[in-house]
């Protein structure tokens, strides 16, 4: 449709009918009227992350390329193979995250956006509205992964002194690798909204998202990084090593778009143009055509069907409270809030799907730790010590979906609690107790299984469980507390809640907390590895120094748990 021209009282300026202009104007207005200090903080964190990515990638490349370097090679074969496989795995990891949320995000954006009532009632072609919403779906589902991917690509290009065309080609490849799951998600969303059982669309969509992303997670495991270590230890001649490394460096999943993208990026950085860009572009174009065709056939009908699809089966039986509800009711308003939250969690696909992520994450972690080939007591305990740090990172990652959004989940219904006879303190504590079982269970599984499957020393095994419990208690509190202090009641799903200044703050603080925990237990871990005869068994914790470590850990856990919760309820109290 051509731009709309109307009389303008202030002059003869044209009034644009562009939907993109409308969105940019709204974005600009929101920015201009928003809190400047908040933007400054976000910008600082973003710059910090970009710098860390650039620097980290450069250092990693330098380290890898110098590893096993022979004569005047610019980069060793081992380094090239490992870096190439790491790039592919990284793209698959991010693409699997995009795939997981693509279908539900597509349904939310394409069919539940507030402005659809307005837009679809205007004299605008449906295809234009669809294109706008598809763009928004990409930004919601793949915006952050895309932004995270660009700095390492630049760093790789700079490292290899890539030709000038590499940079645009690399960014295009990465964007297309994420665009494909988004396009697929949009296509599936259109079909589901048109044909899936009424009222069950979100559930079916989430189920599909889980299956698709679980397949991708499986493919990550198919990369089998531990194979490298195993094979390197067993190979006895140079030819075999070279042959294996060359094979290791080639894509582990040659039919996956993320692998094509990684091939284009890798070859491009080293000056050669990869033909893998063609299937990537062709598939994207094909998907765009199919999605456009589907949209022209079924978008508006699906939207209308979504509005009419509520099917009610009337049942006049006056159902009363269940035993669980009565039990939790004994704990007062907080108990009732926990029951309410549990009901909403298990009835809302965008919420219960987070539990599946948690199970998948726990499973992949434990399987990966078990598959890790380690020989020698020292190496085993050193790796075991590293898993202590990883546990905290995993709990932080889970907390951003399970703990941080719990207050924001109240959404526009928050007025019920705000005007009800329940204090902000009770609200925050109820949210904490509601989120803790899931994170604590995961932490214990990680802490116990990783330590026992690696057969670590007694001190490290106990440290692993203590770190797990401390991480769960404090990081959950951090998530709930920061989430209560900086809630986002207008977000549609947990992923959207997480992408915020509060989400960033939580991630930074929780990672710091994990780091401090590791520092606290580093001394007993070091002694148990280097001088096992000095403190046999758990005797270290009976010593004065052991008491100090335990006391410090306890103090850290108590303060780390109470302080964020307190901060959360104070700020929630002041919230308007």
């Amino acid at each position: 449709m051509s731009p709309v021209k109307t009389a303008n009282p202030t002059g003869n300026a044209k009034v644009s009918g562009s939907l993109l202009n409308l969105k940019f104007r709204a974005f600009y207005n929101a920015l201009a009227r928003g809190p400047k200090i908040g933007y400054l903080i976000i910008l600082s964190v973003v710059l910090l992350v970009v710098y860390a990515e650039l620097e980290g990638t450069h250092r990693a490349m330098t380290f890898l390329c110098n590893f096993g370097k022979i004569f005047n090679e610019s980069c060793s074969l081992v380094g090239r193979s490992v870096a190439q496989r790491a790039l592919e795995t990284g793209l698959i990891v991010l693409a699997s995250g995009v795939t997981f949320s693509a279908i539900t995000t597509a349904i939310t954006t394409l069919y539940s956006s507030d402005d659809l009532n307005f837009l679809l009632a205007q004299p605008i072609a449906t295809s234009r509205v669809f294109a706008l919403k598809l763009g928004e779906t990409y930004l919601s589902a793949a915006g952050v992964p895309s932004l995270l991917t660009v700095p390492p690509l630049l760093a790789i290009g700079l490292f290899f002194h890539a030709p000038f065309w590499f940079y645009s080609l690399a960014v295009l490849s990465a964007l297309l690798a994420y665009a494909l799951p988004v396009g697929l998600g949009a296509g599936v969303a259109i079909v589901l909204m048109r044909f899936a059982p009424a009222g069950r669309v979100r559930e079916v969509a989430t189920g599909l998202g889980v299956v698709l992303s679980a397949s991708l997670v499986y493919l990550i495991r198919a990369a089998k990084p531990e194979e490298l270590i195993k094979r390197l230890a067993n190979l006895d001649n140079d030819n075999a090593i070279t042959q294996f490394l060359t094979q290791f460096g080639t894509p582990s999943n040659p039919l996956l778009p993320s692998s094509w993208a990684s091939r284009v990026i890798w070859d491009g950085a080293r000056g050669s143009f990869s033909l893998s860009i063609y299937p990537l572009v062709i598939l994207s174009a094909l998907l765009l055509v199919v999605a456009g065709w589907l949209a022209s056939k079924a978008y508006q009908e699906g939207w209308v069907r979504g509005l009419e699809s509520s099917r009610v089966r009337l049942d006049p039986t006056p159902r009363v409270a269940s035993g669980t509800e009565n039990f939790f009711g004994k704990f007062g308003a907080s108990g009732h809030l926990i029951v309410k939250d549990a009901r909403l969690l298990f009835r809302d696909a965008t919420q219960w799907s987070q539990l599946l992520i948690l199970v998948a994450l726990g499973g992949v972690y434990v399987v990966s730790v078990r598959a890790f080939p380690i020989q020698g007591e020292l190496m085993k305990n050193a790796v075991g010590f590293m898993t202590l740090a990883f546990q905290g990172f995993v709990i932080s990652g889970v907390g951003i979906r399970m703990a941080f959004p719990t207050v924001s989940f109240e959404g526009p219904g928050f007025w019920i609690l705000r005007t009800g006879p329940i204090s902000s303190r009770s609200i925050v504590l109820a949210k904490y107790w509601g989120a803790l079982p899931a994170t604590l269970l995961l932490a214990l599984v990680l802490g116990y299984f990783s330590a026992s499957s690696l057969n670590l020393s007694a001190v490290l095994q106990l440290s692993s469980v203590m770190v797990a419990i401390s991480s769960a208690l404090a990081i959950t509190a951090l998530g709930v507390g920061v989430g209560a202090a900086l809630p986002r009641f207008k977000a549609d799903n947990p992923a959207e809640v997480a992408v915020s200044a509060g989400g960033l703050l939580y991630m930074v603080l929780s990672l710091f907390y994990s780091g401090f925990l590791v520092l606290i237990v580093s001394r007993p871990a070091y002694l148990s590895v280097t001088q096992p005869s000095l403190y046999p068994g758990l005797s270290y914790f009976g010593s004065f120094e052991g008491f100090l470590v335990l006391g410090l850990l306890l103090l850290f856990t108590v303060v780390g748990t109470i302080a964020p919760l307190w901060y959360g309820w104070v700020k929630l109290d002041q919230f308007e």
Binding site: L314, R319, I416, E576
Partner: protein
């Protein structure tokens, strides 16, 4: 009882409500009227703890809403104009949750009575996301009245209600005050205010233009002296708002001169 003393609210440089004073006593239905942007919703939000006053205090049921929030909130029921409820709870579950927050013992009989009163008994086990706007509004009214609070604060009570339910709601509000409870409502509907409110305040651009019974408003606005026939609230309302606008226009002209 509702007591507002020197309450004002500023958003940055904009003063949404200039210092106002109001008192609503038990047994009374008090109507807060005003055009769009008059400051009605801001005032109501301050009463229910959704907005912090820039100056002054707001007491409900004898408790300062911001100093003793839990006690104050136990003393009132609130019916907002837009009934955002938990979509994935059933009607009965939501009402049991509200009963739990208010620590009501054995609420089931009352819940069933209310559902039947609004004709929602067949829908009580359905998720709220399947309800129409009017059904959600009815459920919000039940949620506010279920604990039988001494004070009821209502923002646009008739939005989305069918004529029968609107009549029921009017009767409910009047009957609630007749039981010795305090009711404050804002509405755009002048006939509603005229039908149920004992006293009325007309708010415009954050100022109270007039306050009192219908007869007192008539005297204050001088509708009889100026030759305007009849004494309906609509005539009084327009006269007050137009006079205010005229005064503001004069002041602007004077300042420009």
């Amino acid at each position: 009882m509702i007591e507002i003393r020197d309450f004002s609210k500023r958003y940055g440089r904009v003063e949404a409500v200039s210092p106002i004073n109001l008192k609503v006593v038990p047994g009374e239905v008090f109507g807060l009227l005003g055009p769009n942007g008059a400051g009605k919703t801001t005032t109501i939000r301050a009463m229910v703890g959704l907005t912090r006053p820039s100056t002054g205090t707001v007491r409900v049921g004898g408790f300062d809403v911001w100093r003793e929030p839990v006690k104050a909130k136990a003393a009132f029921g609130y019916i907002p104009d837009r009934p955002y409820l938990y979509a994935k709870l059933t009607g009965r579950e939501l009402l049991r949750f509200i009963a739990g927050l208010h620590k009501l013992e054995h609420p089931n009989t009352e819940i069933e009575r209310w559902l039947e009163f609004f004709g929602l008994e067949d829908f009580g086990n359905e998720l709220i996301e399947t309800y129409s706007h009017g059904m959600k509004q009815k459920l919000t009214i039940i949620a506010a009245m279920l604990p039988e609070p001494p004070v009821l604060i209502v923002d646009e009570p008739m939005v989305g209600l069918d004529p029968r339910a609107a009549k029921q709601a009017r009767e409910l509000l009047a009957g609630y005050a007749a039981k010795g409870k305090t009711v404050l409502l804002t509405t755009h509907s002048l006939p509603v205010a005229e039908a149920v409110a004992h006293r009325i305040a007309v708010l415009d651009r954050g100022h109270i233009l007039a306050e009192g019974t219908l007869e007192e408003l008539q005297q204050q606005s001088g509708t009889e002296r100026s030759g305007v026939e009849g004494n309906t609230l609509e005539r009084i309302f327009f006269k007050l708002v137009e006079e205010e606008e005229l005064e503001r226009e004069n002041a602007r002209e004077k300042a420009a001169a």
